[in-house]
């Protein structure tokens, strides 16, 4: 076959392999994978057929990619923090810490993507649809929210569970009820509780250490300074420790309009509100762990555990959050408030954010239902008024 050298190299390669992957070709069962690669390199050359002849140049790939860009500070810091938090190596410089963490993280990231994308491709192939971009984001979120050192087979199993049960059985990206990344974390925490106990979610190599939240839940206090918690030099899941980096990500998401500010702000407001209520209710001289926990200043809650990460990257998932603007305020607020409620009262399970988001994922359609119902009532009232007049 004559090669067309006017075309750039990736296009020539794609064209060369096109027959192999298309129907009748040797690898036609990998067609969805080929198509994903093709659309990754080249925007589909399709032109509009129906409706509006011109279209906005934004697409799902770019929307999803913005979330990954927003995650970059968190990812880089998290890798460094893995090295920084380990005890045995003592004096590492900044690069050694980072490389140590990088090599800890890499297998987990690779496993998540390989497992997740394979399943996505398989489903796309069966449904004869294009592979969705949703897993770009879920695939990086999962390694960031599960404990570092989680055995790779467990990561693989959790990812498979999240993609199949959390997403694909509902019809794929856009149809799922729960945030797939959180489903992965949920799976690990409830299926392998004994190997990863709630209070000791941090271990790298020989070290197992308690997170500040674990300490708070058990003794009611933590000796972690709030500045450390803000910058992130504390133990915890890779993504969640640095509130500073998460805020950088939030700025990217809000400036580009990728995530809803309504949800994000409401989660923080809800958290502050619930924390404030507990502060008021806390006895003057707290005795028990719970009472001590209740007196933790509300703003400190926002810096600890997965609160900020959940608020910025998880609660704002457009598919599983509320879909109406009014619903977003309500669901966001409830996530923030519930997260603190679970934290303070459920000593056996120190991290409330995941449960709060999953719970509100389930309730978001109900909230939306009532918001939309109000619109319907307005319309019907208008009609009745006319009939009377």
């Amino acid at each position: 076959m004559k090669q067309n050298y006017n075309k750039p190299l990736p296009k020539r390669l794609l064209d060369k392999f096109a027959p192999t992957f298309s129907e009748g070709g040797k690898l036609s069962w990998l067609h969805s994978f080929y198509e994903a690669m093709e659309t990754f390199f080249y925007v589909p050359t399709d032109v509009t057929k129906k409706g509006s002849h011109v279209r906005d140049c934004n697409d799902m790939k770019r929307t999803m990619f913005m979330v990954i860009i927003a995650l970059i500070p968190t990812i880089l810091f998290g890798m460094w923090n893995i090295g920084y938090q380990r005890i045995d190596g003592a004096d590492f410089n900044i690069w050694q810490n980072f490389w140590y963490g990088f090599w800890q993280m890499l297998p987990s990231i690779l496993v998540t993507y390989v497992v997740g994308l394979s399943i996505e491709c398989a489903f796309a192939q069966i449904r004869k649809e294009e592979v969705n971009e949703g897993f770009f984001v879920s695939g990086i979120l999962i390694p960031l929210i599960i404990p570092i050192g989680t055995p790779l087979w467990m990561t693989a199993l959790a990812t498979a569970f999240a993609v199949i049960i959390g997403k694909e059985i509902f019809g794929g990206t856009g149809m799922n009820i729960f945030n797939p990344a959180l489903i992965a974390r949920l799976f690990i925490f409830f299926s392998y509780t004994s190997s990863i106990s709630g209070e000791a979610v941090w271990f790298s190599d020989a070290r197992t250490g308690a997170t500040p939240l674990g300490e708070l839940a058990n003794v009611g206090t933590t000796n972690v300074s709030m500045l450390d918690a803000f910058i992130g030099t504390i133990p915890g899941s890779v993504g969640e420790t640095s509130t500073l980096c998460i805020l950088l990500g939030a700025i990217v998401l809000l400036a580009t309009g990728t995530a809803s500010w309504r949800t994000m702000v409401s989660v923080f407001v809800g958290g502050l509100f619930m924390g404030g209520v507990f502060n008021l209710l806390a006895p003057a001289e707290p005795q028990t762990a719970t009472e001590l926990y209740m007196s933790l200043p509300a703003w400190q809650h926002l810096l600890l555990g997965g609160f900020a990460f959940g608020a910025v990257f998880m609660a704002t998932d457009p598919v599983t959050s509320a879909q109406t603007n009014c619903g977003k305020y309500i669901v966001g607020f409830m996530i923030g408030a519930l997260a603190i409620l679970v934290r303070v009262f459920n000593t056996g399970y120190p991290e409330g954010m995941m449960l709060a988001i999953i719970f509100m994922n389930a309730l978001a359609p109900v909230v939306d239902y009532y918001v939309v119902q109000a619109n319907i009532k307005r319309r019907n009232r208008r009609a009745k008024k006319v009939v009377k007049a």
Partner: protein, 480 residues
């Protein structure tokens, strides 16, 4: 003496609009107010029409296509070789035999074009050099509602009166709540009525007088902050709208003036068609002359062209000319604007509902990792691109889809481009589910395709939302 400004959420005289005291009093006594729309989007494109109007002489071939009219099943009354006068009936609607479709020119039926299953595509008429007009009895001042209606039906101009809900030709048995006319077109590169109707104001007034006989309440939507020649129209209720497209869509105006409830019917007429109706009653003959804006980045000399409805697009584009295309690139001719128009070929004819012809480049160029590129030459409402930093820049957009089709993912986006109290995504999902009651409850009666065109434009999931809405409307028509 002090001048009172009407102000508030929906009642505000915008600062740009500085009429004199007399106009103020007129506005206030007219009970008019400015309705400010915060939602919407003006897509700024290159290729705006120069404000010069060129009147075309009678061309060689004209055609009328039943496909222009949604839901009409034509019954043909002419055959090839028949002689017709301007205003003679070509076909009628089988479901509503009183609705006639007439020829805009006199001449000989040169072809009856049919498609698959003998579907009637178009009737071609070779025009006479000297036009003959079928006479219509008209006495606007004395005519009753029934007489006006009969004249409109007979002349074929009834087809210019559309009904909401559904956006189809009005049913002459109905008594509408009101008639709505939008006095401006806010779509990209749309014609300006001050240019298009400059010599037609007598006909416009006569048209409104005729419409008032059909229904005493006639609303006219005007653009706030602009001196419109339609300001002088008498006997109608004027409303002023400020804001971006779709402020000029009659559906949006209806929603803010007197929304349609279940069981109600309103009629709408395009403003240039009001002039055509007026001409019928002034002159007693069918003169379907319209001013089309020939626009778009691929037009060499964008301008206004006066031509008859039914003119071939090639004739209308001819004086403005299409730019020479470099190797491999091609263009798309659109009858209408880039958001709601119909893809057409040069041989097609202009229907009676459009008022512009747009020519833009056909897309489909290779773009390496385009979704990651800055794409300075493309437009997006998303701040992940840079067009929000250049609000005044005009774009040369092509027909590229710019991405793959996906399910609904992003939320809260459609709402920003539909200035109505409607939850578009819930309505779309109700249509997908075929749930009649939900569609009704969520506002299907208040919209037609053009109202969701901007939702479709901004959609990162690249779904065909206008086609979806039409499917929903067709389902409603079938089931109700």
């Amino acid at each position: 003496m002090r001048v009172f400004f009407v102000s508030g959420e929906n009642e505000c005289i915008t600062s740009k609009y500085q009429p004199n005291l007399l106009t103020y009093l007129l506005i206030l006594t007219d009970m008019s107010k400015v309705i400010k729309l915060k939602k919407g989007l003006d897509i700024k494109l290159v290729g705006e029409a120069e404000k010069s109007v060129l009147a075309l002489p009678i061309g060689e071939r004209y055609s009328v296509s039943p496909l222009t009219f949604d839901g009409v099943v034509p019954k043909l009354l002419v055959a090839e070789g028949d002689k017709v006068m301007a205003g003679d009936v070509l076909f009628y609607d089988k479901a509503h035999p009183e609705v006639m479709f007439t020829t805009p020119v006199s001449g000989t039926v040169s072809a009856v074009r049919r498609g698959e299953k003998r579907k009637l595509l178009a009737i071609d008429i070779a025009a006479d050099a000297q036009q003959n007009y079928k006479p219509f009895k008209t006495n606007l001042a004395k005519a009753s509602r029934e007489e006006i209606m009969a004249t409109l039906l007979e002349s074929g101009l009834w087809t210019m009166i559309l009904q909401r809900p559904y956006g189809i030709i009005a049913n002459s048995q109905d008594t509408p709540k009101a008639i709505f006319v939008s006095g401006f077109d806010s779509a990209p590169l749309a014609p300006e009525m001050n240019v298009a109707l400059a010599d037609d104001m007598k006909a416009v007034q006569a048209g409104f007088d005729a419409l008032k006989k059909l229904c005493p309440t006639v609303h006219l939507g005007l653009k706030a902050g602009e001196k419109s020649i339609l300001e002088d129209v008498k006997g109608v209720e004027k409303h002023y709208f400020a804001g971006a497209h779709p402020a000029g869509n009659v559906g949006v105006q209806i929603h803010h003036i007197d929304p349609i409830n279940k069981g109600e019917v309103v009629w709408t007429v395009a403003i240039q068609n009001v002039a055509i109706i007026g001409r019928l009653f002034l002159e007693g003959k069918l003169d379907m002359t319209k001013t089309y804006a020939v626009v778009g980045s691929q037009v060499a000399h964008p301008q206004y062209v006066k031509a008859l409805v039914g003119s071939s697009i090639a004739d209308v584009i001819m004086p403005a000319r299409i730019k020479p295309q470099s190797g491999g690139s091609s263009f798309r001719i659109i009858e209408g604007n880039v958001l709601t128009g119909r893809k057409a070929s040069a041989n097609d004819s202009l229907g009676c509902y459009s008022s512009q012809v747009t020519v833009i480049p056909e897309g489909g160029e290779l773009e390496l990792i385009g979704w990651l590129a800055p794409r300075f030459h493309k437009f997006s409402v998303s701040r992940t691109y840079f067009s929000w930093l250049m609000p005044k820049k005009k774009y040369d957009l092509s027909t590229g889809l710019n991405g793959g089709v996906r399910p609904f993912v992003v939320t809260g986006l459609y709402e920003k481009y539909l200035p109505m109290d409607i939850y578009p995504m819930y309505l779309f999902k109700a249509i997908l589910a075929g749930d009649i009651e939900k569609m009704e409850n969520l506002g299907i009666y208040e919209i037609v395709e053009e109202d969701v065109a901007l939702c479709e434009f901004v959609d990162p999931s690249k779904q065909d939302l206008q086609a979806l809405v039409r499917d929903g409307i067709n389902l409603m028509i079938k089931e109700m």
